[in-house]
Protein backbone atom coordinates (compact mmCIF):
# COMPACT_ATOMS: atom_id res chain seq x y z
CA UNK A 1 0.00 0.00 0.00
CA UNK A 2 2.79 2.37 -0.87
CA UNK A 3 2.88 5.50 -2.99
CA UNK A 4 5.97 7.38 -4.00
CA UNK A 5 5.89 11.05 -3.20
CA UNK A 6 8.26 13.94 -3.66
CA UNK A 7 8.54 16.77 -1.21
CA UNK A 8 10.98 19.31 0.16
CA UNK A 9 11.86 18.68 3.78
CA UNK A 10 13.92 21.26 5.65
CA UNK A 11 15.33 22.49 2.37
CA UNK A 12 16.16 19.10 0.92
CA UNK A 13 14.24 17.38 -1.87
CA UNK A 14 13.09 13.90 -0.93
CA UNK A 15 11.57 11.04 -2.85
CA UNK A 16 9.98 8.56 -0.56
CA UNK A 17 7.77 5.56 -0.89
CA UNK A 18 5.22 5.95 1.87
CA UNK A 19 2.60 3.62 3.25
CA UNK A 20 -0.68 5.39 2.49
CA UNK A 21 -1.93 4.50 5.97
CA UNK A 22 0.79 6.55 7.57
CA UNK A 23 0.32 9.96 9.12
CA UNK A 24 2.89 12.60 8.31
CA UNK A 25 3.95 12.37 11.95
CA UNK A 26 4.67 8.67 11.56
CA UNK A 27 6.60 9.29 8.36
CA UNK A 28 8.76 11.89 10.08
CA UNK A 29 9.38 9.99 13.29
CA UNK A 30 9.40 6.34 12.30
CA UNK A 31 10.81 6.45 8.76
CA UNK A 32 12.92 9.58 8.63
CA UNK A 33 14.05 9.50 12.30
CA UNK A 34 13.10 13.13 12.81
CA UNK A 35 11.90 12.64 16.37
CA UNK A 36 11.78 16.33 17.26
CA UNK A 37 8.12 16.31 16.24
CA UNK A 38 6.09 14.90 19.13
CA UNK A 39 2.75 13.16 19.56
CA UNK A 40 0.62 14.31 22.48
CA UNK A 41 -2.90 13.25 21.54
CA UNK A 42 -3.10 11.81 18.03
CA UNK A 43 -6.29 13.72 17.21
CA UNK A 44 -5.16 17.25 16.41
CA UNK A 45 -5.92 18.84 19.75
CA UNK A 46 -2.59 19.50 21.46
CA UNK A 47 -0.35 20.78 18.66
CA UNK A 48 2.77 18.86 19.80
CA UNK A 49 3.05 17.43 16.28
CA UNK A 50 2.89 20.81 14.53
CA UNK A 51 4.93 21.13 11.34
CA UNK A 52 4.88 23.79 8.64
CA UNK A 53 3.50 22.72 5.25
CA UNK A 54 3.64 25.29 2.44
CA UNK A 55 3.74 28.17 4.88
CA UNK A 56 0.98 27.00 7.18
CA UNK A 57 1.12 25.04 10.41
CA UNK A 58 -0.66 21.70 10.47
CA UNK A 59 -1.09 18.94 13.03
CA UNK A 60 0.96 16.17 11.42
CA UNK A 61 -0.83 13.45 13.41
CA UNK A 62 -4.03 14.00 11.42
CA UNK A 63 -2.34 14.76 8.13
CA UNK A 64 -1.73 11.83 5.80
CA UNK A 65 1.88 11.38 4.75
CA UNK A 66 0.87 11.13 1.08
CA UNK A 67 -0.49 14.65 1.26
CA UNK A 68 3.06 15.92 1.54
CA UNK A 69 3.45 15.15 -2.17
CA UNK A 70 4.66 18.27 -3.97
CA UNK A 71 4.82 20.32 -0.80
CA UNK A 72 7.47 22.10 1.22
CA UNK A 73 7.81 21.04 4.83
CA UNK A 74 9.66 22.46 7.79
CA UNK A 75 10.09 20.55 11.03
CA UNK A 76 11.83 21.72 14.19
CA UNK A 77 15.05 20.16 12.93
CA UNK A 78 14.99 22.59 10.02
CA UNK A 79 14.93 25.84 11.98
CA UNK A 80 18.52 26.27 13.08
CA UNK A 81 21.14 27.46 10.59
CA UNK A 82 23.37 24.94 8.89
CA UNK A 83 26.14 25.63 11.39
CA UNK A 84 23.70 24.75 14.18
CA UNK A 85 23.15 28.30 15.39
CA UNK A 86 19.65 29.02 16.58
CA UNK A 87 17.03 31.10 14.82
CA UNK A 88 15.96 34.26 16.59
CA UNK A 89 12.75 32.55 17.69
CA UNK A 90 14.66 29.63 19.16
CA UNK A 91 17.08 32.01 20.86
CA UNK A 92 14.25 33.98 22.43
CA UNK A 93 12.66 30.80 23.76
CA UNK A 94 15.94 29.84 25.37
CA UNK A 95 16.77 33.26 26.80
CA UNK A 96 13.29 34.16 28.01
CA UNK A 97 12.80 30.98 30.01
CA UNK A 98 10.02 29.76 27.74
CA UNK A 99 11.27 26.17 27.82
CA UNK A 100 10.43 23.78 30.64
CA UNK A 101 9.79 20.10 29.95
CA UNK A 102 10.17 20.85 26.26
CA UNK A 103 7.61 18.44 24.87
CA UNK A 104 5.36 21.13 23.38
CA UNK A 105 8.31 23.28 22.37
CA UNK A 106 9.02 22.01 18.83
CA UNK A 107 5.39 22.67 17.88
CA UNK A 108 5.33 25.96 19.74
CA UNK A 109 8.51 27.18 18.07
CA UNK A 110 7.18 26.25 14.63
CA UNK A 111 3.84 27.99 15.24
CA UNK A 112 5.71 31.04 16.48
CA UNK A 113 8.09 31.05 13.53
CA UNK A 114 5.38 30.88 10.90
CA UNK A 115 3.19 33.38 12.72
CA UNK A 116 5.95 35.98 12.82
CA UNK A 117 6.47 35.52 9.10
CA UNK A 118 2.79 36.24 8.54
CA UNK A 119 2.45 38.98 11.12
CA UNK A 120 5.71 40.79 11.92
CA UNK A 121 4.08 43.36 14.23
CA UNK A 122 1.68 41.38 16.39
CA UNK A 123 -0.25 42.47 19.43
CA UNK A 124 -0.23 40.25 22.52
CA UNK A 125 -3.77 38.95 21.86
CA UNK A 126 -2.73 38.13 18.29
CA UNK A 127 0.23 36.13 19.59
CA UNK A 128 -2.04 34.27 21.98
CA UNK A 129 -4.49 33.46 19.21
CA UNK A 130 -1.69 32.28 16.93
CA UNK A 131 -0.44 29.86 19.59
CA UNK A 132 -3.88 28.72 20.73
CA UNK A 133 -3.52 25.41 18.89
CA UNK A 134 -0.45 24.44 20.92
CA UNK A 135 -1.08 23.22 24.42
CA UNK A 136 1.51 23.54 27.15
CA UNK A 137 1.10 22.36 30.72
CA UNK A 138 4.32 23.69 32.25
CA UNK A 139 4.56 27.39 31.52
CA UNK A 140 1.09 28.89 31.71
CA UNK A 141 2.22 30.26 28.29
CA UNK A 142 3.49 33.42 29.97
CA UNK A 143 7.12 33.25 28.92
CA UNK A 144 6.27 31.66 25.59
CA UNK A 145 4.14 34.65 24.63
CA UNK A 146 6.88 36.92 26.02
CA UNK A 147 9.45 35.24 23.80
CA UNK A 148 7.39 35.73 20.65
CA UNK A 149 6.73 39.36 21.54
CA UNK A 150 10.47 39.83 22.10
CA UNK A 151 11.36 38.47 18.68
CA UNK A 152 8.85 40.78 17.00
CA UNK A 153 10.21 43.74 18.91
CA UNK A 154 13.83 42.92 18.12
CA UNK A 155 13.08 42.42 14.45
CA UNK A 156 11.38 45.80 14.42
CA UNK A 157 14.35 47.45 16.08
CA UNK A 158 16.72 45.86 13.60
CA UNK A 159 14.52 46.92 10.71
CA UNK A 160 14.37 50.47 12.06
CA UNK A 161 18.10 50.90 12.40
CA UNK A 162 18.98 49.13 9.16
CA UNK A 163 20.05 51.41 6.32
CA UNK A 164 17.39 52.20 3.76
CA UNK A 165 17.13 49.27 1.45
CA UNK A 166 15.17 49.85 -1.70
CA UNK A 167 14.59 46.24 -2.49
CA UNK A 168 12.87 45.75 0.83
CA UNK A 169 10.40 48.51 0.14
CA UNK A 170 9.77 47.44 -3.42
Amino acid sequence: MNQTIEFTLNGETRHYSVDVRQSLLELLRDELALTGTKEGCGVGECGACTVIVDGETVDSCIYLAVWADGKTLTTVEGLAAEDGSLSDVQTAYVQDGAVQCGFCIPGMVLSSTQFLEDNPTPTRPEIKRALSGNMCRCTGYQKIVDAVADVAEKRQENADIAPVNFTRHA
Binding site: M1, Q3, D19, V20, R21, Q22, S23, E26, G42, V43, G44, E45, G47, T50, E56, T57, V58, D59, I62, Y63, L64, V66, W67, D69, S111, R129, A130, S132, G133, N134, M135
Partner: protein, 291 residues
Protein backbone atom coordinates in the same frame (compact mmCIF):
# COMPACT_ATOMS: atom_id res chain seq x y z
CA UNK B 1 -1.12 3.95 11.07
CA UNK B 2 -4.65 4.59 10.04
CA UNK B 3 -6.74 1.48 9.63
CA UNK B 4 -7.59 2.12 5.98
CA UNK B 5 -7.45 -0.15 3.00
CA UNK B 6 -6.25 2.31 0.38
CA UNK B 7 -5.91 5.91 -0.64
CA UNK B 8 -6.76 7.62 -3.92
CA UNK B 9 -5.87 11.20 -4.74
CA UNK B 10 -8.70 12.37 -6.99
CA UNK B 11 -7.78 14.93 -9.63
CA UNK B 12 -11.33 15.51 -10.88
CA UNK B 13 -14.92 15.05 -9.84
CA UNK B 14 -15.22 12.34 -12.49
CA UNK B 15 -12.49 10.35 -10.76
CA UNK B 16 -14.38 10.52 -7.47
CA UNK B 17 -17.57 9.33 -9.08
CA UNK B 18 -15.73 6.45 -10.71
CA UNK B 19 -14.09 5.26 -7.52
CA UNK B 20 -17.29 5.49 -5.51
CA UNK B 21 -19.20 3.62 -8.17
CA UNK B 22 -16.78 0.76 -7.79
CA UNK B 23 -16.67 1.02 -3.99
CA UNK B 24 -19.68 2.86 -2.53
CA UNK B 25 -18.18 2.58 0.95
CA UNK B 26 -15.08 4.55 0.04
CA UNK B 27 -14.86 7.68 2.20
CA UNK B 28 -14.25 11.13 0.82
CA UNK B 29 -11.65 13.07 2.79
CA UNK B 30 -10.77 16.75 2.51
CA UNK B 31 -8.68 18.34 5.28
CA UNK B 32 -9.02 15.24 7.42
CA UNK B 33 -9.65 17.04 10.69
CA UNK B 34 -12.91 15.14 11.17
CA UNK B 35 -12.40 12.00 9.11
CA UNK B 36 -8.99 11.10 10.50
CA UNK B 37 -10.07 11.83 14.06
CA UNK B 38 -13.00 9.47 13.60
CA UNK B 39 -10.67 6.89 12.10
CA UNK B 40 -8.40 7.23 15.13
CA UNK B 41 -11.43 6.80 17.36
CA UNK B 42 -12.22 3.66 15.34
CA UNK B 43 -15.70 4.79 14.34
CA UNK B 44 -17.27 2.12 12.22
CA UNK B 45 -17.54 3.83 8.81
CA UNK B 46 -14.08 5.31 9.03
CA UNK B 47 -11.91 2.21 9.35
CA UNK B 48 -11.28 -0.69 7.03
CA UNK B 49 -12.27 1.55 4.14
CA UNK B 50 -10.62 3.33 1.24
CA UNK B 51 -10.14 7.06 1.37
CA UNK B 52 -10.53 9.42 -1.55
CA UNK B 53 -8.56 12.63 -1.18
CA UNK B 54 -10.26 15.54 -2.88
CA UNK B 55 -8.26 18.60 -1.90
CA UNK B 56 -6.74 19.09 -5.35
CA UNK B 57 -9.99 19.32 -7.33
CA UNK B 58 -10.10 22.69 -9.14
CA UNK B 59 -13.88 23.32 -9.20
CA UNK B 60 -14.06 23.12 -5.43
CA UNK B 61 -11.53 25.87 -4.75
CA UNK B 62 -11.76 29.62 -4.37
CA UNK B 63 -14.27 32.23 -3.32
CA UNK B 64 -15.85 34.26 -6.12
CA UNK B 65 -18.72 36.62 -6.82
CA UNK B 66 -21.00 36.21 -9.83
CA UNK B 67 -22.27 39.14 -11.83
CA UNK B 68 -25.58 39.09 -9.99
CA UNK B 69 -23.72 39.40 -6.71
CA UNK B 70 -24.08 35.78 -5.70
CA UNK B 71 -21.15 34.69 -3.60
CA UNK B 72 -19.75 31.26 -4.32
CA UNK B 73 -17.51 29.53 -1.83
CA UNK B 74 -15.57 26.49 -2.94
CA UNK B 75 -16.26 23.63 -0.56
CA UNK B 76 -12.52 23.07 -0.16
CA UNK B 77 -11.91 26.58 1.12
CA UNK B 78 -10.16 26.16 4.43
CA UNK B 79 -11.46 28.00 7.47
CA UNK B 80 -8.46 30.28 7.25
CA UNK B 81 -9.10 31.05 3.59
CA UNK B 82 -12.70 31.90 4.38
CA UNK B 83 -11.71 34.06 7.34
CA UNK B 84 -9.11 36.02 5.36
CA UNK B 85 -11.04 36.29 2.09
CA UNK B 86 -11.74 39.91 1.03
CA UNK B 87 -15.19 39.07 -0.39
CA UNK B 88 -16.16 37.33 2.83
CA UNK B 89 -14.85 40.21 4.89
CA UNK B 90 -16.75 42.75 2.82
CA UNK B 91 -20.07 41.02 2.25
CA UNK B 92 -20.55 38.22 4.73
CA UNK B 93 -18.24 39.08 7.62
CA UNK B 94 -20.22 36.99 10.09
CA UNK B 95 -19.11 33.85 8.27
CA UNK B 96 -15.48 34.88 8.66
CA UNK B 97 -16.10 35.59 12.31
CA UNK B 98 -17.73 32.19 12.82
CA UNK B 99 -15.03 30.11 11.14
CA UNK B 100 -12.31 32.07 12.93
CA UNK B 101 -13.58 30.39 16.08
CA UNK B 102 -13.13 26.82 14.85
CA UNK B 103 -10.65 24.75 16.91
CA UNK B 104 -7.14 26.15 16.72
CA UNK B 105 -5.00 27.58 13.92
CA UNK B 106 -3.76 24.21 12.70
CA UNK B 107 -7.32 22.96 12.28
CA UNK B 108 -8.31 26.14 10.47
CA UNK B 109 -5.37 25.74 8.08
CA UNK B 110 -6.56 22.39 6.74
CA UNK B 111 -10.18 21.99 7.80
CA UNK B 112 -12.62 22.96 5.07
CA UNK B 113 -15.98 24.64 5.12
CA UNK B 114 -17.41 21.87 2.96
CA UNK B 115 -16.23 19.25 5.40
CA UNK B 116 -17.70 21.23 8.27
CA UNK B 117 -21.13 21.10 6.60
CA UNK B 118 -21.02 17.53 5.28
CA UNK B 119 -20.00 16.28 8.71
CA UNK B 120 -23.57 17.05 9.77
CA UNK B 121 -22.75 18.18 13.29
CA UNK B 122 -25.15 20.64 14.87
CA UNK B 123 -22.14 22.23 16.56
CA UNK B 124 -20.37 23.08 13.27
CA UNK B 125 -19.26 26.69 13.55
CA UNK B 126 -19.98 27.56 9.93
CA UNK B 127 -23.48 26.09 9.88
CA UNK B 128 -25.68 28.54 11.84
CA UNK B 129 -24.21 31.42 9.86
CA UNK B 130 -24.85 29.70 6.52
CA UNK B 131 -28.41 28.98 7.66
CA UNK B 132 -29.05 32.67 8.27
CA UNK B 133 -27.54 33.59 4.91
CA UNK B 134 -29.93 31.05 3.32
CA UNK B 135 -26.98 29.36 1.66
CA UNK B 136 -27.55 26.97 -1.20
CA UNK B 137 -25.40 23.91 -1.60
CA UNK B 138 -24.30 22.95 -5.08
CA UNK B 139 -24.01 19.19 -5.11
CA UNK B 140 -22.54 17.27 -8.01
CA UNK B 141 -22.93 13.65 -8.91
CA UNK B 142 -22.58 11.55 -12.00
CA UNK B 143 -26.26 12.32 -12.65
CA UNK B 144 -25.68 16.06 -12.69
CA UNK B 145 -25.91 19.06 -10.42
CA UNK B 146 -28.51 19.85 -7.78
CA UNK B 147 -28.89 22.89 -5.60
CA UNK B 148 -30.11 22.24 -2.08
CA UNK B 149 -31.03 24.90 0.48
CA UNK B 150 -28.83 24.30 3.51
CA UNK B 151 -31.86 23.97 5.81
CA UNK B 152 -33.02 20.96 3.74
CA UNK B 153 -29.56 19.43 3.69
CA UNK B 154 -29.43 18.71 7.41
CA UNK B 155 -31.60 15.68 8.20
CA UNK B 156 -30.60 14.77 11.72
CA UNK B 157 -27.65 14.47 14.07
CA UNK B 158 -24.65 13.65 11.88
CA UNK B 159 -26.99 12.94 8.98
CA UNK B 160 -27.05 15.04 5.83
CA UNK B 161 -28.72 14.68 2.46
CA UNK B 162 -25.67 13.36 0.66
CA UNK B 163 -25.71 9.97 -1.01
CA UNK B 164 -22.54 8.06 -1.87
CA UNK B 165 -21.32 9.56 -5.13
CA UNK B 166 -22.62 13.02 -4.33
CA UNK B 167 -20.09 15.75 -3.65
CA UNK B 168 -20.67 19.19 -2.20
CA UNK B 169 -18.77 21.41 -4.62
CA UNK B 170 -19.75 24.97 -3.80
CA UNK B 171 -21.74 26.96 -1.27
CA UNK B 172 -23.69 29.90 -2.68
CA UNK B 173 -25.23 32.94 -1.05
CA UNK B 174 -27.49 35.26 -3.04
CA UNK B 175 -27.06 39.02 -2.88
CA UNK B 176 -30.50 39.53 -1.35
CA UNK B 177 -29.47 37.33 1.54
CA UNK B 178 -26.52 39.44 2.62
CA UNK B 179 -27.04 42.93 1.27
CA UNK B 180 -27.98 45.35 4.00
CA UNK B 181 -27.64 42.82 6.81
CA UNK B 182 -25.54 43.06 9.90
CA UNK B 183 -24.61 39.99 11.84
CA UNK B 184 -23.00 38.54 14.91
CA UNK B 185 -22.09 34.99 15.82
CA UNK B 186 -21.69 33.67 19.35
CA UNK B 187 -19.93 30.43 20.07
CA UNK B 188 -20.74 29.47 23.61
CA UNK B 189 -18.00 27.17 24.85
CA UNK B 190 -15.88 26.65 27.92
CA UNK B 191 -12.63 27.71 26.26
CA UNK B 192 -11.65 30.51 23.90
CA UNK B 193 -9.91 28.09 21.56
CA UNK B 194 -9.76 24.35 20.82
CA UNK B 195 -13.33 23.83 21.81
CA UNK B 196 -16.69 22.90 20.38
CA UNK B 197 -19.82 24.90 21.01
CA UNK B 198 -22.16 23.93 23.82
CA UNK B 199 -24.52 26.29 22.08
CA UNK B 200 -23.99 28.58 19.13
CA UNK B 201 -26.06 31.30 17.57
CA UNK B 202 -25.85 33.31 14.37
CA UNK B 203 -27.98 36.41 14.14
CA UNK B 204 -28.49 38.47 11.00
CA UNK B 205 -30.44 41.68 11.12
CA UNK B 206 -31.57 44.29 8.61
CA UNK B 207 -32.92 47.58 9.87
CA UNK B 208 -35.57 49.63 8.17
CA UNK B 209 -35.04 53.39 7.68
CA UNK B 210 -37.46 54.06 10.56
CA UNK B 211 -35.13 52.08 12.87
CA UNK B 212 -37.46 49.13 13.16
CA UNK B 213 -36.39 45.63 12.33
CA UNK B 214 -36.89 44.95 8.63
CA UNK B 215 -35.69 41.38 8.83
CA UNK B 216 -34.21 39.19 11.50
CA UNK B 217 -32.72 35.76 11.04
CA UNK B 218 -31.57 33.62 13.91
CA UNK B 219 -30.05 30.18 13.79
CA UNK B 220 -28.88 28.10 16.72
CA UNK B 221 -26.42 25.26 16.76
CA UNK B 222 -26.65 22.57 19.44
CA UNK B 223 -30.21 23.65 20.28
CA UNK B 224 -31.61 20.73 18.27
CA UNK B 225 -30.18 17.71 16.43
CA UNK B 226 -29.44 20.05 13.49
CA UNK B 227 -28.82 23.77 13.27
CA UNK B 228 -32.23 25.34 13.56
CA UNK B 229 -33.79 28.65 12.49
CA UNK B 230 -36.21 30.53 14.77
CA UNK B 231 -39.37 31.10 12.69
CA UNK B 232 -41.54 32.48 15.49
CA UNK B 233 -38.91 34.87 16.79
CA UNK B 234 -38.07 36.03 13.26
CA UNK B 235 -41.74 36.60 12.38
CA UNK B 236 -42.36 38.50 15.58
CA UNK B 237 -39.34 40.76 15.10
CA UNK B 238 -40.41 42.24 11.78
CA UNK B 239 -41.46 45.84 12.28
CA UNK B 240 -40.48 45.98 15.94
CA UNK B 241 -38.33 48.69 17.40
CA UNK B 242 -35.28 47.51 19.27
CA UNK B 243 -35.88 47.82 22.97
CA UNK B 244 -35.72 45.60 26.05
CA UNK B 245 -39.24 44.32 25.57
CA UNK B 246 -38.60 43.33 21.96
CA UNK B 247 -35.35 41.60 22.81
CA UNK B 248 -36.96 39.74 25.68
CA UNK B 249 -39.83 38.58 23.50
CA UNK B 250 -37.42 37.42 20.81
CA UNK B 251 -35.73 35.34 23.49
CA UNK B 252 -39.05 33.83 24.57
CA UNK B 253 -39.93 32.87 21.01
CA UNK B 254 -36.47 31.35 20.58
CA UNK B 255 -37.12 29.15 23.57
CA UNK B 256 -40.34 28.00 21.92
CA UNK B 257 -38.56 27.35 18.61
CA UNK B 258 -35.58 25.40 19.95
CA UNK B 259 -35.43 21.82 21.03
CA UNK B 260 -32.44 21.61 23.35
CA UNK B 261 -31.47 18.52 25.22
CA UNK B 262 -29.67 17.45 28.34
CA UNK B 263 -26.14 16.26 27.87
CA UNK B 264 -23.23 16.00 30.20
CA UNK B 265 -21.65 18.91 28.36
CA UNK B 266 -24.54 21.24 29.22
CA UNK B 267 -27.95 20.80 30.77
CA UNK B 268 -31.22 21.52 29.01
CA UNK B 269 -32.06 24.06 31.67
CA UNK B 270 -28.86 25.94 31.03
CA UNK B 271 -29.14 25.79 27.25
CA UNK B 272 -32.74 26.98 27.46
CA UNK B 273 -31.61 29.89 29.57
CA UNK B 274 -28.87 30.85 27.10
CA UNK B 275 -31.23 30.49 24.15
CA UNK B 276 -33.22 33.38 25.53
CA UNK B 277 -30.22 35.62 26.13
CA UNK B 278 -27.81 35.16 23.27
CA UNK B 279 -29.94 36.43 20.32
CA UNK B 280 -30.51 39.75 22.05
CA UNK B 281 -26.81 40.06 22.77
CA UNK B 282 -26.03 39.20 19.15
CA UNK B 283 -28.44 41.84 17.87
CA UNK B 284 -26.88 44.52 20.01
CA UNK B 285 -23.38 43.40 19.08
CA UNK B 286 -24.24 43.37 15.36
CA UNK B 287 -25.65 46.87 15.50
CA UNK B 288 -22.72 48.07 17.58
CA UNK B 289 -20.16 46.71 15.15
CA UNK B 290 -21.46 49.00 12.42
CA UNK B 291 -21.21 52.14 14.53
Amino acid sequence: MYDITGYHEADSLATIFKIIKADPKAKVIAGGTDVLVKARERKQDFIATQLIGITRIPEMQGITMAEDGTLSIGALSTFKQVEKDPLVQQYIPMLGEAVSLVGGPQTRHVGTIGGNICNGATSADSAPTLFTYNATLEIHSEAGVKNVPIADFYKGAGWVDLEPGEILVRIKIAKADYEGYLGHYTKFAQRQALDIANLSCATLIKMAPDQTIADLRICFGVAAPTPIRMPQAEAFAKGQAINDATLKTIGKYCLADTNTRNSWRASKEYRDHLVQIIPARNILAALKEVQ
